[in-house]
Symmetry: C2
Subunit: 146 residues, 2 copies
């Protein structure tokens, strides 16, 4: 039984982010990849949609410039044939500020011939915004009445 | 081939929310269900963790008191043996205000003997907070300097 594509991709992704070594991940991305990380693109430019390998490689470099992965826990996972989804809890370090950042995300990955061809990622963005812009965030009720 | 537990649960859930008919869903929830919807519990009390069928039935009634489902699109899905995950885009109506609300969520469901025994849900909460408390939300940079 061969290893599921998710595990190879996951190792390569973390190596790309933490060591800025992109040689492992580059061949694991389909030329026509359809990639979206949902969230407020105006606050975090590495969110949003990217089409094609070059654009996805670029955004991975942007992410690697921003954060290091300290640890992650896979809280839920479902593996299918050339498909995988999981919910992950990340502990990151933001490189600019050397501050810790925790975030939870869910991803849905589709592989074609072992290469990532479609990715959808949903992040607990409110929690992310709170941490990135200071904790606790001014509550929207208060902001609205300010 | 029997129907996947997800489909029966999904129909019963939408009937519970939209028609306040809880008779279909009640037998589809395991007595010892472990349920968590991640998000800011202080802003939305129906988020958070619930243990056991009674607590989950109560939170479903709270949700049914708050919203109606207008439509939903299943953008990604992976089915496993007694497992299912999907990413859904909902168009809701908030009953208090009769206002539309769109939200995207990812769920990871585990079934035991056809009953839901574990559920984890991640919501695009920043988008939700923006819509629920007025659009556009005051950006955190502005709030912090106000």
């Amino acid at each position: 039984m061969t290893e599921h594509s998710l595990w190879r991709f996951s190792r390569a992704l973390h190596r790309a982010i933490n060591e800025r070594q992109f040689t492992d991940i580059e061949p694991l991305i389909d030329e026509d990849i359809d990639w979206t990380v949902h969230g407020p693109v105006d606050l975090f430019p590495f969110l949003g949609s990217r089409n094609g390998k070059a654009a996805v490689m670029q955004v991975l470099r942007q992410i690697a410039d921003k954060v290091r992965v300290h640890r992650f826990d896979r809280e839920s996972i479902i593996l299918g044939v050339e498909q995988a989804s999981s919910m992950l809890r990340y502990s990151l370090t933001v490189l600019d500020t050397n501050k810790p950042l925790r975030l939870r995300l869910a991803h849905f990955a589709q592989f074609r011939d072992g290469k990532l061809s479609r990715m959808r990622i949903l992040i607990d963005t409110y929690d992310l915004v709170e941490q990135a812009f200071g904790l606790p965030l001014r509550r929207p009720q208060l902001a609205a009445s300010a």
